[in-house]
């Protein structure tokens, strides 16, 4: 769940007690970027907190802001229980079973038929109840199986999947598919890993469409697709 390197780095910086501000070291701007401010707004006046035309640097809190204090009946401070983490970290949550149909539809255009009867594999909460999904061996196995099933449909017809991947076609398809599945462009390292999978590691798969299906299913089994 946590972006470990970032968290570790922050912890180390904090431990030496010399955390500097990244953009502006004034007490009134302990956040980088456009500043969250005391009300969580960004001052654009529309109350939504975002300006769609503004490309912002990432927010970063490098020193604990002076939030208000909340007192329990015994005088203890409730805010003392807060963990010392930055904004924008520890954010990834597992997509619940209930949204997987929509997510498969969004990316593949189809919903794997077996998904409808797979609630038990994901410990979907019962009526009137709520729980964060906690993946298990069963659910991870089911994810790959379901993704493979959906990807078989996805790769069944297009001519681009009739031939085995090459370095060029794999790079193109991996980039396009990862962008679609992850809602972000993949890094060069991620594309290279995908190309290696398609062209080398899957070399024993003789059927081109099945080889593309494996590539597709691997992307849909990644944490980038399974979290939000």
């Amino acid at each position: 769940m946590k972006t470990t390197f970032l968290g570790l780095g922050l912890a180390l910086l904090t431990s030496v007690g010399s955390v500097g501000c990244m953009l502006d070291d004034t007490p009134s701007n302990r956040y980088g970027g456009n500043g969250v401010g005391s009300s969580g707004g960004d001052g654009n006046g529309d109350g939504t907190g975002t300006d769609p035309n503004d490309t912002k640097p990432e927010l970063s809190c490098t020193e604990a802001p002076e939030g208000r204090s909340y007192t329990l009946f015994d005088g203890s401070k409730l805010e003392a229980s807060r963990s010392k983490e930055n904004v924008g970290v520890n954010r990834a949550r597992q997509k619940p079973y209930a949204v997987l149909a929509g997510e498969y539809k969004r990316v593949l255009g189809v919903v794997p038929p077996s998904l409808a009867s797979a609630a038990g594999s994901f410990a979907d909460p019962p009526a009137r109840w709520y729980s964060e999904i906690e993946h298990s061996g069963v659910s991870l196995n089911a994810i790959f199986s379901l993704s493979f099933e959906g990807c078989l449909e996805y790769t069944k017809t297009p001519a681009s999947y009739a031939a085995n991947p090459t370095a060029e076609t794999a790079a193109t398809e991996c980039t396009t598919f990862m962008r679609k599945a992850w809602s972000r462009s993949p890094s060069p390292e991620e594309v290279a890993s995908c190309v290696d999978l398609a062209t080398t590691k899957l070399g024993t798969e003789a059927n081109p469409r099945r080889r593309w299906t494996y590539v597709c299913a691997s992307v849909l089994s990644s944490s980038q697709f399974l979290t939000f």
Binding site: G40, A64, R128
Partner: protein
């Protein structure tokens, strides 16, 4: 069906399958550590991609649904937060969430979930969130449901018969120690670790007033026995239990003289701890975890919204509309 397919695969295919499972995990791990930051370092952040991720995050967190095409292509997904908060999907999702926070576990019987039904009605009707604890409502069992109606003698869900029975506890005189803890926990977030004690321990009121038990039962601000004296007394057990009015008169609690359960809950709802706990729940709902130190400004905005506008929708909006939520 899946097992059949696995067992009929060739060994070669199975090896491929396992490789595929391992590859994305490794790739994902490496990519996750590098994360979007690595990509961002290569150039300007792609705002369209950021908006799309924001749409996915908002839709799943608030509605429990995949984002629709309009939201995915929106140049300002957070501008749709109010619309999402007015939907039946949000009312259901937050009611389920709060039911899971306030109840001990899921139940097959709808009668055991008055929290869910009342929370859903309060959200749907745009009522103050404090009505969940103080509002004049009657929550009666129906056929696989519960029906909420107005009742000036109501006290949120705390006077619902099924709730009282579920949390009546087994104290020998009928004091609702468990119910007292639940009221404290639901309002202020109090957490306690129950002590199982020894087999021969004196579990009567006099036993609880002695030794290690005394702290939680009589001395601490949450003195469970004193709170229970403001609650009805249980007669009978489990699903057939009935309740008599308390007889021990006003109690000195929370720095006040409180004469009944209504004054007790009112004092709790008026506290810092109530506002803090409800906004902590908002963070758990939106982030899947409690707020951290750097998120204090968003947290304070949530408390402000809950204090002024009073609805849970406004409290959720204060956090969901903040730039940090879509980061």
């Amino acid at each position: 069906m899946f097992i059949t397919r696995l067992t009929t695969r060739s060994r070669r295919t199975l090896r491929l399958s396992l490789a595929m499972v391992a590859a994305p995990v490794l790739a994902a791990g490496a990519a996750f550590l590098a994360g979007p930051r690595a990509h961002a370092e290569g150039g300007a952040v792609d705002q369209a991609e950021a908006n799309e991720r924001c749409a996915v995050r908002l839709s799943i967190a608030l509605l429990g649904k995949s984002a629709d095409d309009a939201l995915l292509s929106s140049s300002n997904p957070q501008g749709s937060v109010d619309t999402m908060l007015a939907s039946a999907d949000f009312a259901d999702r937050y009611a389920r969430f709060i039911n899971s926070e306030f109840n001990g576990g899921p139940s097959d019987k709808a009668d055991n979930d008055p929290v869910y039904y009342l929370a859903k009605k309060i959200i749907t009707d745009g009522k103050p969130w404090s009505d969940l604890f103080l509002g004049g409502y009657d929550i009666q069992p129906g056929t696989n449901t519960m029906t909420v109606s107005d009742n000036p003698n109501g006290l949120g869900y705390f006077r619902t018969l099924s709730w009282r029975r579920r949390y009546a506890g087994n104290e020998d005189k009928g004091y609702m120690l468990t119910g007292a803890f639940r009221i404290l926990s639901n309002t202020t977030g109090l957490t306690l670790i129950p002590s199982v004690g020894e087999p021969d321990d004196d579990r009567t009121a006099s036993g609880r007033a002695a030794g290690a038990c005394k702290s939680c039962h009589f001395d601490a601000w949450f003195a469970l026995d004193k709170f229970a004296r403001l609650l009805p007394m249980r007669k009978g057990q489990a699903d057939t239990a009935e309740f008599d009015p308390p007889t021990e008169g006003p109690q000195q609690l929370l720095g006040k003289t409180l004469k009944d359960d209504k004054e007790l809950v009112q004092a709790l709802v008026d506290s810092d701890a109530f506002r803090f706990n409800q906004c902590r729940n908002v963070f758990k709902f939106l982030y899947g975890r409690e707020e951290n130190q750097c998120e204090a400004p968003q947290f304070d905005a949530c408390v402000d919204a809950l204090t002024t506008t009073k609805t849970i929708q406004s409290a959720v909006a204060a956090v969901a509309k903040a730039p940090a939520f879509c980061q």
